[in-house]
Amino acid sequence: MPSPRKSSNNLRSAAIIGGSLAVVVVLAIIVAIVAGGGGSKAKKPQHVANSAGLALKIGTIDVQSAGPPARINSSVQQSVLDSSQTYVDDAILAPLEKGRLDQAYAQIFDRGVRRQATGADRATLTEVRTGTLKGLKATATKVRLDGMGDQTGKLVLVAATFGVDVSAKGSGGPVKIQRLAELTFAPESGRWVVTAYRVGVTRSTPAKTAAAVARAGTGAIQ
């Protein structure tokens, strides 16, 4: 038979152990939740070199979620940045330097918008109709990334928004091209591809200034 004091000590020990266990479990849950929403402070992605010397850089990152906190990890950041860079190199700079689109342009779009991007919207999305220019100078704003998580916190959409300004010499005088691109990416077969876009462009020459906007990616029913 245990003495009353020993029994009381056992009970106290049990209570302390139980309490500690409860605190540990609660802390573990809090840590798990906080870690799940780890924010957007990922590693700085590497630049992709291009012939015109214009390298896009990632700026502000903001992620919203329909469920638990979501985050854009560094590989997704890099993938989206690479595709945005491909767009700048192959759709904007290559036509101005070589007079034609580079083939990788079409590959950044998903099947839903590719036809429109390479068809009806090609004149607005690219500089293929501008023709070759000399003395190209190009600058870009930092790429803002907005992410959207689904009900489970899984990242399902990433929008890359950036501006590109090009100045050059054309046959009729100086040419200025200002672009604001919002490319929305979604995963498709393990790649992040453009599933929607909204791109505005203003082209100015001594003779005229023309502006155009192209949008795609509104198919709602499937």
Partner: protein, 318 residues
Amino acid sequence: MKLAIKPRRGNRTKRTTKQRVKRAVLACAAFVVVVVVGVAALGAAWLHGYKVPLTTGATYLRVEKLAGGSRADASTGPTSPFFILLIGNDSRPGVGGSRGDALHLVGVNPKKHKATMLDIPRDTCWYGDKINSANATGGAPAQAEAVGGLVGVNVSYAVDVDFDGFTSMIDAVGGFTLNVPFEMHDADSGAFFHPGVQHMTGDLALRFSRDRHDFPQSDIIRTNNQGLVILAGIRQMQQSASNAAGQFHLITLLYQHAQLMNLGVTDLYRLGRLVQDIPVGNIRNVTIPVGGGNCLSLGGDAPGFFADFRDDAILESH
């Protein structure tokens, strides 16, 4: 004898104290276990995407993707015309009811960047009964079937909101601006407005939407007024979600305050972009042609009117 009894009393007292301590410890432990398990379960549910009331806020409306409409539209592709039914039901705390008192069928034509909203008076006759009773018997799917049957289209989405949800939702976005078209003085609905542009809270918008005694055409004008509120709401939504960040924010709000059935984030994003690409000026607000009576019969030109609407989701010759 007394000496023998005293220790027994002492033992009993000690045993009772010990039992009380034991019970207290057990009760505390049980409480802690319940709290821990509860928190863990809620955390796990939240991490797995289930709605946890404390983390997701109040539910203001329900959005449902309907099977019939989806099937019909899948064959014609994602840019084909489709139809959304907006339902304002009359369910109120303490009053009950869930009839579809406000019915608006929106036809969207993505290629033409145009839409037409058909305002359907709640008293419109459908198989001998008022059409709004379908919502009470079979919810949004039944209401969509009735309205779709009346017009001759497959409804792809249904948005259902009650009085409370309607006012809370409008207040949550800070209200909206509405151009009230005429003088309104109706004690029943509480609608007292002078004509002109004014800011609407949820409560004022509900009063405006419910007034029918100010007009000789009663429910027909009321239905059209509800359409004006919806157009103002779309305009507000377009302003606050003009880029991806705004659209993502709106989706997040929807997930916090809407019960979404068969709809994913990508669906909502594409729908949002679609709405964004249709200027409010390209959305017509038209009440369907109806005759008279308590149970409103369809007007004589209804067949041609509906045919014009269902071919491409927009009214052109009416």
